[in-house]
């Protein structure tokens, strides 16, 4: 779908022929993120649907204890130091950002009075600044008022390299100024289409200036508030044991009426995913369990007990196979899979096509992942097929055989195809993980039927995903022909996500294999489109550029998507917990309640 197609589709949304939700789904189906799609609609003057809150309680408190289980416990409670999701979630109980992402990719104001838009003058026409109006009458847990000074301070705090924050990436290239006591302006050095990064969602939680002011820079670790957070959130801090327990109690001065519902909150950490699901769905000891990566079969069995359900939220995690563009078996300048080489077999498009035809995604979904892994043609999709509503990716041993035959790969006496004395033999690696090994086996079987021999290799996850320069088995080194892993696309804007096919991101010895382009595929046209999208202010044009990039990478078969992996949580049947695939689980904790 190109720019015109997009504009037509948006026109149909305007005329009411296509619903907002359908549009979102299509865009996500095309490999875009929901927030980007929402941005397109907002830009085209289609007002964001007023999110109808399903929150029912009519008074604050009285809900008893909310007990949630995180099989990896929060280890710290300063959002600017939060290394992983667990820490962000723990911090989110007490701290809040200016805005959060809802499941449809819309921004929802939390500490902001409204979402900046071109219509309300929040967004500058040149894309170089955004003005946030802050909610008035918000109090920190210690009774001090929340003002623009706090917001400006967070920028100063995070962007100071000596503070050693992990959020610095969102704050170092911007300038933040206070306009009045409840208005701040964020200035960008160049036109920035995606402005909702600083102060938004996981990286935008605001910490109080009056308690952190003296602990900016080198002394950041000494701040007592690091361990005893004082925020604006629905629950006040009670107690924290790193890796084990976070406890909070109701904030009776919370800035929204009738919220929160629960009197106390307990976030228990540790253990494993299966027993976490059990504690919610079978014994009912807990109300909610985070990220239960459990085989669907087990989840279904637990659901039969009738105490809880698995809540499956579409995010953007995709399990895919990377196809090596370089030669992993020849060493050039001290590294294998060097960008200077070309893969002797996989450089033949026919071989890549055949491999793509040999991945039986439906079988992988049906027999391995169930609801927790939906077969996908997504990631980088073929729009043609999408428009024709032929949503089935193809799995055909026959067609794969034809393609290989036509390209001159003839079967030898051992049944393996060969051309010019080179046999179609590949090494296919992934991390050790039962569903992945089963998927490998399914693909190997299909390949055998087409005369391709796959040697399966499984590497311990801690090595495979490590960045250890000395280890040859890391996924970024990619010292083999094919490899399978999951990439996350939970970030709301695809710009960063899509840099994994840019030529300057190729993982090499020089950048210590930290480059994000693992398949080492390169295309000048792709690079150009990516750079254009970086500064393109018209979201529709920008979306078209991303789709073009999708097309380029998928046509070249730089990757073969397998299944799309939604986020799974275990939720007690009575608990109402709105979840969003574009933000963390606690994005709307203030609205959690238990039905009578």
């Amino acid at each position: 779908m190109d720019e015109n197609g997009l504009r037509q589709l948006i026109g149909e949304v305007k005329r009411g022929r296509v619903t907002r939700r359908q549009f979102m789904q299509r865009m996500v189906g095309l490999g875009l993120t929901a927030p980007l799609a929402a941005q397109m609609l907002a830009y085209s003057g289609i007002a964001q649907a007023q999110a109808k809150s399903a929150y029912k309680p009519t008074k604050r408190g009285g809900g008893g204890a909310l007990k949630v289980l995180w099989w990896q416990g929060a280890t710290l409670l300063n959002p600017h130091f939060a290394v992983g999701t667990k820490d962000q979630e723990g911090s989110r109980i007490f701290y809040e950002p200016l805005a959060a992402w809802d499941p449809d990719g819309n921004l929802v104001p939390i500490l902001a009075a409204e979402i900046p838009s071109i219509q309300n003058g929040g967004l500058a026409a040149d894309g170089k600044s955004v003005t946030w109006k802050l909610k008035k009458g918000v109090q920190w847990h210690d009774g001090k008022p929340f003002t623009a000074d706090d917001v400006v301070f967070n920028w100063e705090y995070s962007s100071d390299p000596a503070t050693a924050t992990v959020t610095i990436g969102s704050y170092q290239d911007i300038k933040v100024e206070k306009l009045d006591s409840h208005t701040v302006r964020v200035r960008f050095s160049k036109p920035t289409p995606f402005w909702a990064d600083a102060f938004v969602s996981t990286r935008g939680m605001i910490i109080p200036k009056h308690l952190f002011e003296t602990y900016k820079g080198g002394k950041s670790r000494e701040a007592p508030t690091n361990l005893k957070p004082i925020g604006t959130g629905p629950y006040k801090f009670v107690d924290f044991k790193p890796g084990d327990m976070v406890r909070g109690q109701i904030n009776t001065a919370y800035h929204e009426p009738n919220r929160p519902y629960f009197d106390t909150i307990e976030m228990k950490g540790g253990g494993d995913a299966v027993s976490a699901a059990r504690a919610v769905m079978q014994t009912g000891e807990f109300d909610y369990a985070w990220n239960v990566q459990v085989e669907d079969e087990i989840l279904l069995r637990m659901e039969k007990d009738g105490r809880g359900r698995a809540d499956i939220v579409a995010g953007g995690n995709i399990e895919f196979i990377a196809v090596n563009s370089t030669d992993p078996w020849t060493e050039v300048d001290g590294e294998r899979s060097s960008a200077k080489t070309k893969h002797p077999l996989l450089s033949d498009p026919a071989v890549r096509d055949a491999l793509n035809l040999l991945v039986d995604r439906q079988a992988v979904q049906d027999h391995i992942y169930g609801r927790t892994g939906v077969a996908t043609r997504n990631f980088l999709n073929n729009p043609e097929r999408f428009r024709s509503k032929n949503t089935n990716w193809e799995f055909s041993v026959e067609k794969a055989n034809q393609a290989l035959e036509a390209a001159g790969w003839k079967r030898g006496s051992d049944g393996i195809r060969a051309k010019d004395g080179r046999k179609l033999k590949f090494v296919f690696q992934t991390s050790i993980n039962a569903p992945r090994q089963k998927t490998q086996a399914i693909i190997k079987q299909a390949c055998q039927k087409a005369g391709i021999e796959l040697e399966l290799k499984a590497v311990t996850a801690s090595v495979f995903f490590s960045s250890d320069v000395g280890n040859p088995d890391t996924y970024t080194k990619f010292y083999c022909d094919l490899e399978m892993y999951t990439t996350t696309m939970t970030q709301p804007d695809p710009q960063v996500f899509m840099d994994q096919f840019c030529s300057w991101q190729i993982a090499t010895k020089e950048n210590k294999w930290q480059g994000r382009n693992i398949s080492r595929w390169r295309s000048d046209e792709y690079d150009k489109a990516w750079r254009a999208a970086e500064n393109e202010l018209d979201p529709v044009k920008r979306a078209a550029l991303f789709m073009r990039m999708n097309d380029l990478a998928i046509e070249a078969r730089a990757v073969i998507p397998v299944v799309f992996r939604p986020r799974v949580s275990a939720v007690s049947n009575k608990l109402r917990a709105p979840l969003s695939g574009w933000d963390i689980d606690f994005w709307l904790l203030k609205d959690w309640y238990r039905e009578a």
């Binding site: 690091n226 307990e266 253990g271």
Partner: protein, 319 residues
Amino acid sequence: MGRYVLRRLLIALPSLIGISIVLFAVLALAPGDPFEELATNPNVPAEVRANLRAKFGLDDPVALRYVRWSAAMMNGDWGFSFVSRIDVDQLILQRLPVTLFVIGSSQVLALLIALPIGVYAATRPYSLFDQIANTFAFIGFSLPTFFTGILFILVFSIQLDWLPFVYRSDIAETGWRWWWEHGKQALMPIAVLGLFQGASWTRYVRSAVLDVIRLDYVTTARSKGLGEIAVVVKHVVRNALIPVVTLVALQMPAIFGGAIVTEQIFRVPGIGSLLISSILANDTPVIMAVTFVFSCLVILFNLLADLLYGWLDPRISYS
């Protein structure tokens, strides 16, 4: 006696230094760092991670890092956790009470099982009681704790719904309710650890008592008209206990290790689970501190066992 203890403590020093060097080197050679998670998050620029590494001194040579660590350790500074950014001693102190309570209770339970059953079985070898005790002991120590732990959860939590299987160190109750809740949640982990340990100790106690009970002095004691209880308690058990004491003392630190698995299963926030999560997060200062505490405990309990010998057997003296 005092000089003996002093000498032993002085000998322990070089071994502790050796242990710490080996531990440090192994951890330094292991792949990964505490900021691994940042590497897979494309929204975090690679420099952020590089800066953090530099700030926490992870890029310095191993030898320099070791010297820095040991110098700080001498001054009582255990360093701070890279993951939580709080002091390691604080982290360990938070976890210690729970571990001591759970492990301590399970050891007491194990002794309460092993001593009476072992002694009684030995005084009546090959009787029906002995056979049954032996069989159960055999089953008990053949089943690993992770298996019995999960079995207990399936039976008592999921099937019968009697006991909770998530251990919470903070229980928002007071008075007898607090004791009740606490007892309920501690029952399964303590039983799992205690039964496992009790089973193997029963067999040791039995064989130790069996060795002694046939000796001539026991027959003499009986023949001079002492009651059976006096013979067993005063003459047999005291002598039979010597090898058992060694065993119990030497296994003490290992129990901390064994508890890692049980703590993980029941989510007991003890030292073991702290160690596991630190290892998974590559949090070197915490791993160093905890393993170092373990090695100190091994050395300490060795010494303790030797001292107990002297008390149990007056023939052994350290003067």
